[in-house]
Symmetry: C2
């Protein structure tokens, strides 16, 4: 059995503007204590489980060169550009076509899919959970996910409702997933956390490729209809680095629906299993996530760079300018986010961090494309 890891690195991560940019989205930011980019961390935490030769990174054409430089341990031919921005379903169908073409017999291939821009720690617990997920997936009967025991009634995450215990793998409990529950209301989220029968959906998926192909045919006809063409298109380019997307891929990729793998497959398949994670996980969805990464000081502030705070509480202040020309001061502020880059400054109420994406859209429509 060969394991191939697919890292999904096509996201735009606009909610970390002005630090995240079109040319430097969230997966290329250094948002954790390690000082490494999130995509680097994602690759490095596979070390010892999946070799670089068995890792593929799917991203967008504008990011391809930078990600190749960022990930020298992954062969350049494995850093692949999607021709247009699509959701995770199209990304993973393309990945599956590449893996089958490159490695052969689907029943001897395990595919493991990872988001590239989440916080995961510590390494040992992640790898223990990962090995359990891979071991369970090897049986070829379940699509396997990793579920995170929720530590707060988060309304921004999807939840997995647990069914019966299926057994153990590597000492980790595996459950049937009764169903996927999308982002709940506050009240529902509190109920989810209290019952103990719900886990956060980490967005990682594991499957044997023969099972995936059967599921593709059964549940994803709008993708399955492109399967043979996809395989023919990727075949000539497997061994050599391609600049930009594979030639000819644009039309077929654009024709696939713009939906998530959760929606297209996981919510429809009969047999989904989940492995209960023993690691800490955070999707780093917006600026306020930094409070969960970096411990706030005695006033509840998280500060990076030379910022003077006086009588301010619950603030996140980040000066990321390369050559700060001005001192930054916060006075009497409560629950605000202040972020400075060389060409943009954001002052945002913490209540509005989810609306940063809306601000980016506003800027795009009002002639500020240069700072996006």
């Amino acid at each position: 059995m060969e394991t191939v890891a697919i890292i999904m690195a096509g996201g735009s991560g606009e909610r970390f503007w002005p630090l995240s940019r079109q040319q430097r989205p969230k997966q290329l930011l250094r948002l954790t204590a390690s000082g490494r980019t999130l995509v680097e961390e994602t690759v490095e935490r596979l070390s010892g489980v999946v070799s670089g030769e068995h890792i593929y990174v799917l991203t967008s054409a504008p990011l391809q060169a930078l990600i190749r430089r960022t990930l020298p341990q992954v062969p350049p031919a494995h850093i692949i550009a999607e021709p247009v921005r699509r959701n995770t379903a199209a990304c993973l169908v393309l990945a599956a076509a590449i893996v089958v073409e490159r490695f052969g017999e689907p029943s001897r291939l395990l595919m493991a899919a990872f988001p590239s821009d989440h916080l995961v720690e510590p390494l040992e617990e992640f790898q223990r959970t990962l090995r359990a997920a891979l071991q369970w997936a090897e049986q070829g009967e379940d699509i396997v996910t990793i579920g995170i025991p929720p530590v707060r009634p988060e309304t921004g995450y999807g939840y997995l409702e647990l069914g019966e215990e299926l057994g153990e793998a590597e000492g980790v409990t595996v459950y049937r997933v009764r169903r996927f529950r999308e982002k709940p209301s506050r009240e529902v989220a509190e109920e989810f956390v209290n019952t103990g029968r719900f886990l956060w959906n980490s967005g990682m998926f594991f499957w044997r490729l023969d099972l995936f192909l059967r599921a593709l045919e059964q549940h994803m006809p709008a993708f399955w209809s492109h399967w043979d063409l996809l395989r023919r298109l990727v075949r000539p380019w497997l061994e050599q680095p391609v600049e930009g997307a594979y030639p000819g891929l644009d039309a077929v990729f654009s024709a696939m629906p713009d939906v998530s793998i959760d929606y297209a497959l996981a919510e429809r398949a009969e047999r989904i299993a989940t492995v209960r994670a023993s690691f800490r996980w955070d999707d780093l969805g917006a600026w306020d996530a930094l409070e969960r990464v970096f411990p706030p000081d005695s006033q509840g502030n998280v500060v990076s760079g030379e910022v003077v705070l006086l009588e301010s509480q619950g603030c996140i202040a980040l000066d990321a300018r390369t050559h700060p020309r001005s001192i930054v001061t916060l006075l009497g502020l409560r629950d605000c986010v202040v972020v400075l880059t060389d060409d943009a400054i954001l002052c945002c109420a913490k209540t509005h961090v989810q609306q940063v994406r809306g601000l980016v859209a506003y800027l795009r429509e009002h002639g500020y494309e240069a700072v996006l």
Copy 2:
């Protein structure tokens, strides 16, 4: 009767940091719709009442050259540097010594003292009130002030409690001042406004110099003891511009108490009159004053410079950088002040605008003298 105007321009105005600086305090800022500095406006609104030859401006040595350039209509020899920072009492005693030495017989001299950093408009109403104050002061029996009908229960101002009506001058009502009331609590301020028997103390004073000298002898012994020495020190320098303070003035000026003219004289003298102003006045005490100068937009925001506001209300946003290198965005902010200069950025809750002075003190003590 000759009228001599004294403009008190020694203030530091730290509450407008980072726009106000040690080298460019509030009186040198352009905070009103005219686009002129406050000290320029103060001089210009005397036009037609007091000639430039009869105007003296007292400031500090570091500001002297800049104020001379700012006020070409005032003879350079009349822009005088106080040797050390003192309050308004020492400033006006020094001014009186200069005026008596220069113009002679005190009973034929009217002295009119003006703060240099307040908002006053419109011109016609100011001059009408001014002429009334001068006419009443000419009698030589009262120290005359200008009282502003309060339009809100301001706790940051001093109030004048009115006694009986003394009469009229130029059609304006003149009252006896029963007493001075320092900055009141909110409840007391509301009572003051409701009774209609209180006016704001504008900080402008008018007196005949013979009356002032008798008051000096009677109420201000710690100043009167320096009077003869002061006159001798200023005598040689009356006609020529002096760079920095008059030679020898340092010791005697430092020896005078650091108190306001309100405290040293006005609160002690028996006969204080006040003229009820018909003009609009504001002391522009802190950043939130800008809302009273510039009409807020439909969201209650006052914006200057290229600032993008989204879902923000009640904010004051001012980009005063000479070469803005970054776009400034406010998202979801309520009642905040954001001010940018080339070397400093302030993000301040509107509730804390009075504490900007404390922030400046904090910066001075923590090695940020360069941005003060």
